[in-house]
């Protein structure tokens, strides 16, 4: 009996192959770094060769056709998975430190491409500078990838409310998915590159002015790449704590910009109308939520008798780490794991917030929370006025009920999966005789599944995920992948209906 497959998988492979062939270009950058520092070049040459071979192979079996919803889901899932695998090659070939191990290399690479920022490295000095730079580059690529994915594909097929983002005249000239991806990619690449370049100039400028001694050109580039991508890897063991206060404030600005909708930024720039920011309800909600959370953290730190910080330090660390977790970046300006439970729980709650839809952030995102909050308040209202018909409005525009249900579903699914991973971590750790507290497990689960990076305890900002069992790390690799591409595309691959009906 032949079973007919209803997905034009050859079309998906074609797109995947194209993306893999482009991957050779950014691999040249760490290669150049390796040559500059006189480090081994094999890790990158092997990776370039591998990605090109794979790309050629895929193009050989690819076929022309329309990229529909299923083909897009398949391609997206494959792209993130295969880029993570190719990205692990340099770690394996270099064979330094903990990432010499296959699962660890995959973890580091998946953490990179999903802009998570969770690391299994223990001794940062054990790795060549080119390998450390590769970690930064792959995160920057992950940020670019998610921008294109969210704005060109997910908004079109309506995953979990992604269709809500501001997109009236956005690439209005193209109507089919494939040319839309190309047009969107072109605009986003330009904008994203420009913002990153600006960040490099700002950070390195501080160094040249003598106010940021550690912010060398290497570090300026490395941190510009992962701050705008809201990704969070840092070649410094102390993360952002290695830099002067002024440099940390610049990083806060970079993270905030990276977590702002790029479509909104694009409109503000093209219309030269900054008021558009204020008109956007999600933007106001996003900044408001950050201000509230940072205020709470600052208060918790101030009233913690075991911590004695200057006012400036309190404010800076509260703002920096709140912004870092809300925007799903994952830098740390200090070891917030030593803070009081009050502060840590606020930070834990921040993990679920996320930045704006259409940005480089992960997690649930502010637009969805905004809709959920409005739906709750409507529920209260209709209890009193059962006959009332109240559409939910965001920035004044009504949201259709199907989208509201999508969003409810997405939020619930995110919470359930984060909870499921928590349970798995605790159980799996117990299996090998490792003691992991509930809070530690919740933090690590949320931090990896929601693609943030650091958590608490052993996975704290200055800690490492290396000590988790290999099975746990494997589960985390899978959930980072699922979480990054907005859950739905990957999960649908595992349904019968996707392939058959």
């Amino acid at each position: 009996m032949t079973v007919r497959i209803r997905v034009a998988w050859r079309v998906s492979l074609g797109l995947t192959g194209t993306v893999l062939s482009y991957l050779a270009v950014p691999l040249v950058f760490p290669l150049a770094v390796a040559i500059y520092y006189g480090e081994p070049v094999e890790p990158f040459l092997v990776a370039i060769a591998a990605t090109l071979v794979l790309a050629v192979g895929m193009n050989a079996v690819s076929a022309d056709g329309d990229l529909g919803v299923r083909e897009a889901f398949l391609a997206v899932s494959l792209i993130w998975l295969l880029v993570a695998i190719i990205g692990a090659i340099p770690f394996l070939v270099a064979g330094t430190g903990t990432t010499a191990h296959l699962v660890n290399a995959l973890f580091e690479s998946m953490s990179g491409i999903t802009t998570t920022g969770a690391t299994v490295m223990v001794d940062f000095d054990a790795h060549p500078r080119s390998i450390m730079m590769w970690r930064q580059v792959i995160q920057w690529l992950g940020g670019l990838g998610i921008l294109i994915l969210a704005t060109a594909i997910l908004s079109e097929v309506g995953v979990g409310g992604a269709q809500l983002m501001e997109s009236e005249t956005w690439t209005a000239t193209v109507s089919k998915l494939t040319p839309r991806i190309a047009e969107t990619a072109r605009i986003l690449l330009g904008l994203y590159t420009a913002i990153t370049a600006l960040a490099v100039v700002a950070l390195y400028g501080l160094h040249r002015l003598g106010v940021a001694p550690n912010m060398t050109l290497y570090n300026a580039v490395a941190h510009a790449l992962t701050s705008v991508a809201t990704a969070g890897f840092s070649p410094e063991p102390a993360s952002a704590g290695a830099f002067s206060p002024i440099a940390q404030w610049i990083l806060v600005a970079c993270m905030l910009v990276g977590a702002t909708s790029f479509i909104l930024i694009y409109f503000v720039l093209t219309e030269e109308n900054p008021r558009r920011f204020l008109h956007n309800e999600e933007f106001r909600f996003y900044l408001g939520a950050i201000a509230l959370a940072a205020g709470l953290v600052a208060a918790a730190v101030t009233f913690d008798p075991s911590i004695n910080l200057e006012v400036e330090e309190t404010v800076r660390h509260a703002v920096f780490n709140t912004v870092s977790l809300v925007t799903t970046t994952g830098y740390a300006s200090t070891d917030f794991d030593v803070w009081s439970p009050a502060a840590k729980h606020v930070l834990f709650a921040c993990m679920f917030l996320g930045g704006m839809v259409g940005s480089t952030t992960c997690s649930i995102k502010t637009l969805r929370w905004l809709v959920v909050l409005k739906a709750f308040s409507r529920e209260l209202f209709t209890t009193i006025h059962p006959a009332a018909v109240r559409p939910i409005r965001v920035s004044g525009s009504p949201v259709d009920e199907e989208t509201v249900r999508d969003i409810y579903g997405f939020v619930l699914l995110s919470l359930v999966l984060a909870f499921g991973l928590t349970v798995f971590i605790v159980v799996d750790a117990a299996r090998v005789g490792l003691r992991v507290s509930e809070f530690e497990a919740m933090g690590a689960a949320a931090s990896t599944f929601l693609n943030i990076g650091p958590a608490f305890g052993r996975a704290g900002p200055y800690g490492t995920y290396h000590t988790f069992p290999t099975t746990t790390k494997t589960a985390m690799i899978v959930l980072m992948w699922v979480g990054r591409i907005e859950i739905i595309p990957v999960l649908t691959l595992f349904t019968r209906a996707f392939w058959r009906s």
Partner: protein, 445 residues
């Protein structure tokens, strides 16, 4: 004037009937039964055919026609008919439309569709309703001279402070003119010592501020503000426009619509209106939502029967003011007799709107009062009008009987008419006149 009326539905028939005595009217309708019936009922020429067909229009001698009124039930047909008429002659074209979207498009480019004047009955009716709500106690309100002048008709309830006063006591406003007092089936022109009685209808003309200021002395309640409960029942186009216009005045009305899809549509289009999906004739629902406390209920359901039922219910549970949309002209009296405060007939509103263009094109605006007993007209005075360059006191002898000059605007400023005021060419004059003499006064402008 030769006038073609396309479409012999209720509106077309009404217009044809009101024009038949003074103009040569040709009615075109696609339905032969209709045209035959009309030829029998009215003194008009009839033609059976498609009003958008150039040959049919030629047959009606379109080249010699002064005005085309397209009043079928289909917007697109009316627009095409006007466009076609313009290609074959140069009549003044009037199109009746239901969708206000056509109106918006036409307002942006005034010669669009070959239409010289577009009348949107639903929008106009809603405007009328909102003006009436804006002045509690007023039964009719109309703006003139681009809003610089307002005409309002008030019914005087028995507990009104001005009942039993004389006009000079009641008139505390410089820029307000008492134009007429209707009593039973006649009217009189008020003098300073005329007594105002309960049950009278008083017509005043003046600046909008003075009319607004006068309203509380008729019934001492405030004009509506945000705290007021205004309930629109029925999500018809009229209901929608009414709620929308109320929103524009920073009010937050409620709107009750029974149909799920329509309710959702309305809720999306009206951010500041509380839309409720329910049967408005359910008494329990009305009590639960405290509709009995409403300051005004507007019945805009899709049938007169439902509106009547709802109005009666609303009256019984104690709603202060009820305004009902009545589709059938004959029922207007009936509604008002049983105590509904204001009954508005969209077709009459439409006829008013369209008829003003048949007034030899001098009258800029017109309001018909008390079943066409009298009219309020806006005239623009020409260079050789016999009315200009003389003080008003000298004009009185020349004016037809039962004429009152209510207000004057010159270069967009309001002038209160006094005995020594001199009219100038280009002035806009708002006059109250007995319908009989309307054409006489128009001829003098």
């Amino acid at each position: 004037m030769r006038v073609i009326v396309i479409g012999a539905g209720q509106v077309g028939t009404n217009i044809a009937a009101s024009l038949a005595s003074t103009h040569d009217v040709i009615v075109i309708d696609i339905d032969e039964d209709r045209t035959e019936q009309l030829a029998y009922e009215l003194d008009v020429l009839t033609l059976t055919g498609d009003g958008t067909d150039i040959d049919v229009l030629r047959e009606a001698d379109i080249g010699e026609v002064d005005m085309v009124i397209a009043s079928t039930d289909t917007d697109a047909v009316n627009l095409v008919a006007c466009g076609t008429a313009k290609t074959a002659g140069d009549p003044f074209t009037i199109a009746r439309v239901k969708s206000h979207r056509y109106l918006r498009a036409w307002e942006d480019a005034e010669d669009a569709y070959g239409v010289d004047f577009m009348a949107c009955s639903d929008l106009r009716t809603a405007e009328n309703i909102v003006q009436v709500i804006g002045l509690p106690a007023a039964v009719d309100v109309d703006p003139f001279a681009g809003g610089l002048v307002q005409m309002a008709e008030f019914e005087i309830p028995s507990d009104s402070p001005i009942a039993n006063q004389v006009v000079s006591e009641a008139d505390q406003f410089d820029s307000l003119t008492f134009a007429a007092i209707f009593r039973e089936d006649h009217f009189e022109l008020p003098q300073g010592n005329t007594h105002i009685q309960a049950g009278d209808s008083v017509v005043v003309i003046g600046s909008p501020e003075s009319v607004q200021g006068f309203a509380p002395s008729v019934v001492p309640t405030q004009t509506p503000d945000r705290a007021d409960e205004l309930v629109v029942v029925g999500g018809s186009k009229i209901g929608y426009h009414t709620a929308r216009l109320l929103e524009e005045r920073n009010l937050q009305p409620k709107l009750i619509e029974q149909d799920t899809t329509r309710a959702r549509e309305l809720a999306e289009a009206l951010p500041n209106t509380l839309v409720m999906e329910h049967d408005a004739t359910d008494v329990e629902f009305l009590a639960h939502e405290h509709i009995d406390d409403a300051d005004a209920v507007i019945a805009a359901l899709d049938s007169d029967e439902k509106n009547l039922l709802l109005s009666l219910l609303a009256k019984r549970i104690g709603v202060d003011r009820i305004i009902a949309v009545v589709d059938t002209g004959e029922y207007v009296d009936l509604f008002e007799e049983i105590g509904i405060d204001v009954a508005i007939n969209p077709r009459l509103v439409m006829a008013e709107e369209i008829t003003r263009f048949t007034r030899e094109s001098v009258a800029e605006n017109i309001t018909v009062l008390e079943e066409d007993l009298a009219e309020v007209l806006e005239l623009e005075l020409s260079e050789n009008s016999p009315l200009v360059d003389r003080p008003i006191r000298e004009l009185v002898g020349d004016l037809p009987d039962s004429t009152v000059i209510g207000a004057i605007t010159r270069d967009h400023t309001f002038i209160t008419p006094r005995g020594d005021t001199t009219l100038k060419p280009g002035d806009h004059v708002v006059v109250f006149v007995e319908t009989e003499f309307a054409d006489d006064i128009t001829a003098m402008a």
